[in-house]
Amino acid sequence: FQGYLDHEQFNQLEELQDDANPNFVEEVVTLYYRDSARLVHSIEQALEKSPIDFNKLDSYMHQFRGSSSSIGAKKVKAECSLFREYCRAGNGEGCMRTFQQVKKEYTALRKKLETFFQLARQAGPVDRARRPK
């Protein structure tokens, strides 16, 4: 997970997990991937249009970036910021290139998280240092 996740943020999520919501983190991440898949799709579509509507792109990306940051997806977030720079500059090429990066990071992170959760489930619900609230 090195570099992929903002541990501070991710930790926050972990701390929220408790007996009442034992799989909170996983739920959040799942929700994130589900929701962001929609965004990714919209962005791709927008990128294929011609001429490109940068405003819309920027707004999608803003959302995507916000979501990503809330689960601590550091690299994804960084690529999103870069994407927005290109967007603001009206650089379609740059946007497309960067978006490929975004997707790459996004997918890579998902794999890692999936593995993480599998391990977590195997190890039992106590693998994280959960502090009594």
Partner: protein, 622 residues
């Protein structure tokens, strides 16, 4: 009695608490705080909800602003605080913020992944209690209850001011009982105020004096309010009279007073904001188009008042007048090339000014298209407040908005003008940044302002305004701000607000008859304005108000002002324009145009504090 103090507090707390949510655990504030969270991002929403629940708050989540609004409207006392995202697809977070503030007077916290200063500033100007940067940490959420308390505290304070704590008996006490006691359980609040009132406090908490159940300002109620305000005239619209006119059982003067403040703030903000947003954009400007022809109508007071308010106005007025009169920007003395915004003195805030600054020089904002009213350029901060005062009195309704902007550019020498008038406008000296009216965006303001008044129904002024405003006062809105500022730099909020609102409205309708402006300023008797000003203002206002049928508009302004409450505390002196001399005879048109221009200039609608919106007079294309 001390012991009873504690007891009293506790009991009052419990009673209060129960009043609030009817089932919350008593004495465990802020446990049970009822939060409404709005965000279109489901991931964030889920995380936030969980965090809030972990803080032991009660949470209701919405992914759409409309949904949130209807829930809030349906359950007027059901929530204590609202947390909303800034960027949402169905409604702008700021708009929601405004609506909630106006209708329900709940503290609203904004949040966004965007942490750029301009957006945060926007949050401030729109009355947000706080602004959180995403990703939000739970620690940040743990403390949101402070905003609820603070707000209540301020409301009480206002109320006290307004009513002299007559009605409810010691609002303070009640206040204490309210949240404070719960929070501290008798610690700070109690010691602070309730020392000798424990018993009373106890009684109080159940009585109406204590935190009265929050009044929900429904659309109808608001319309009544607006109607009453218009009827009275902005300057004369005091809570007591408004209350009488409204004749709504159960409504107290405090309710009206705080609503009035908010309203004023709101109007003020609209004038500033509208410019940018321009809901009406064109409507305002158009009328003025001819080079702020309408502005010229503004005569007088408005501009002046505006001028008085913030230095800007003085210059703006001059400019405005000039603009109005002849479109030619008054040979700007360019005393102070401060693009309206510069008037730092005027405005205490620098930032807002900056915004203007940029825009100032750009005449484009002014709708008039090029009329660069830069007259106001230099609205020298020097304008002595006195002058401004004069202006006010002059009764020239400051052409406010539009001219103001231009005035600014033209560095109108307000001083010369100001002399005439008014005579003592003491209030002017406040330098309240009345100029707020987003001069830069004056044009826009106008439009916005209109929207407000006309649309009382909506309650949410801004958008609708465009359509409605047309009828109402011409974009005077800008002037509104200015005036406000003048009047009370900081506290006079309500007063100013009143005026401001009026002014704006007036301008709109009246083709910039700034009259409105004039009226608004004068309005607030309560505050800083000395009676004399009031008198003059009144006359102005009265004429303006009625003239323009800005009833709506004005009311909007007033309404807006009430929003001001939020930031009362923080309200950094509203742009304290040093009440630059406001050449009274600015010719309202000039002012108006200046103001409007400024607004158009994209002045950041500095609502209360900055008010410098109005200042961006530079932009006012003459």
């Amino acid at each position: 009695m001390n012991p009873s103090n504690g007891r009293g507090v506790v009991s009052s707390v419990s009673s209060r608490v129960s009043r609030k949510s009817s089932e919350t655990v008593p004495d465990q504030f802020p446990v049970g705080l009822r939060v409404m969270v709005v965000d279109d991002d489901p991931t964030c929403l889920m995380i936030l909800e969980k965090m809030l629940r972990t803080c032991k708050y009660e949470v209701k989540r919405c992914s759409r602003a409309e949904e949130a609004l209807s829930i809030l409207r349906g359950n007027s006392n059901g929530y204590d605080v609202v947390i909303s995202d800034v960027h949402m697809p169905d409604m702008d977070g700021f708009k929601l913020l405004e609506q909630v503030g106006l209708e329900m007077d709940l503290p609203v916290i904004m949040m966004s992944a965007d942490d750029s200063k301009s957006v945060v500033m926007k949050g401030v100007t729109h009355g947000a209690c706080d602004y959180l940067i995403k990703p939000v940490r739970i620690e940040a959420l743990k403390n949101i209850w402070q905003h609820v308390i603070r707000k209540r505290k301020n409301e009480w304070k206002e109320v006290e001011q307004q009513s002299g704590s007559a009605d409810d008996g010691q609002p303070k006490q009640s206040e204490d009982g309210d949240y404070s006691s719960s929070v501290n359980e008798g610690s700070w609040r109690n010691s602070k105020r309730r020392k000798d009132d424990d018993e009373d406090g106890e009684d109080r908490d159940d009585t109406s004096t204590l935190k009265k159940p929050r009044v929900v300002w429904s659309v109808e109620l608001h319309q009544q309010f607006v109607g009453a305000v218009n009827q009275l005239g902005i300057d004369k619209a005091v809570p007591k009279k408004i209350l009488e006119l409204m004749n709504v059982p159960g409504l107290t003067r405090e309710n009206v007073a705080s609503h009035l403040q908010k309203y004023r703030l709101y109007l003020r903000r609209l004038s500033g904001v509208s410019q940018h947003q321009n809901n009406l954009g064109s409507p305002f400007m158009n009328p003025q188009d001819p080079g702020y022809g309408p502005l010229s109508n503004l005569n007088g007071i408005d501009l002046q008042t505006l001028a008085a308010t913030g230095q800007l106005p003085a210059q703006s007025l001059a400019n405005l007048q000039a603009a109005g009169l002849g479109r030619a920007a008054i040979a700007p003395k360019s005393r102070i090339p401060i693009p309206v915004v510069d008037q730092r003195n005027l405005f205490s805030f620098e930032n807002p000014k900056l915004t203007f600054g940029d825009t100032q020089q750009q005449p484009q904002h002014l709708n008039n298209g090029g009329k660069q009213i830069n007259l106001l350029h230099g609205i020298p901060t020097n304008m002595e407040p006195k002058q401004l005062v004069n202006l006010h009195h002059q009764g020239n309704s400051i052409p406010a908005v539009q001219s103001v902007q231009s005035v600014h550019n033209g560095s109108y020498q307000p001083q010369s003008r100001v002399q005439q008038p008014m005579g003592n406008y003491n209030p002017v000296s406040h330098t309240s940044p009345m100029i707020n009216f987003p001069l830069s965006s004056s044009a826009e303001l106008r439009s916005n302002i209109y929207a407000l008044p006309n649309n009382p129904a909506k309650g949410g002024f801004p958008e609708d305004v465009t359509s409605e405003m047309k009828g109402s006062t011409p974009g005077f809105v800008p002037s509104y701000d200015i005036f406000n500022e003048l009047n009370h730099q900081q506290k006079v909020h309500d007063w100013e607000l009143q005026n401001v609102g009026l002014t704006f409205n007036a301008t709109q309708q009246a083709n910039n008859s700034i009259d409105v402006v004039g009226t608004s300023i004068v309005g607030s008797p309560h505050q800083a304005f000395p009676s004399s000003s009031q008198g003059s203002g009144l006359s102005r206002n009265a004429s303006v108000v009625h003239a323009n049928n800005n009833n709506n508009a004005i009311s909007m302004g007033q309404h807006h002002m009430s929003n001001n409450n939020f930031y009362h505390e923080n309200n950094p002196v509203r742009v304290k324009l040093e009440t630059p001399l406001f050449p009274e005879q600015f010719g309202q048109d000039d002012l108006m145009s200046a103001l409007l221009k400024q607004q158009q200039g994209g002045i950041v609608p500095a609502e209360n504090d900055f008010d410098f919106d109005g200042y961006s007079i530079d932009n006012i294309p003459v």
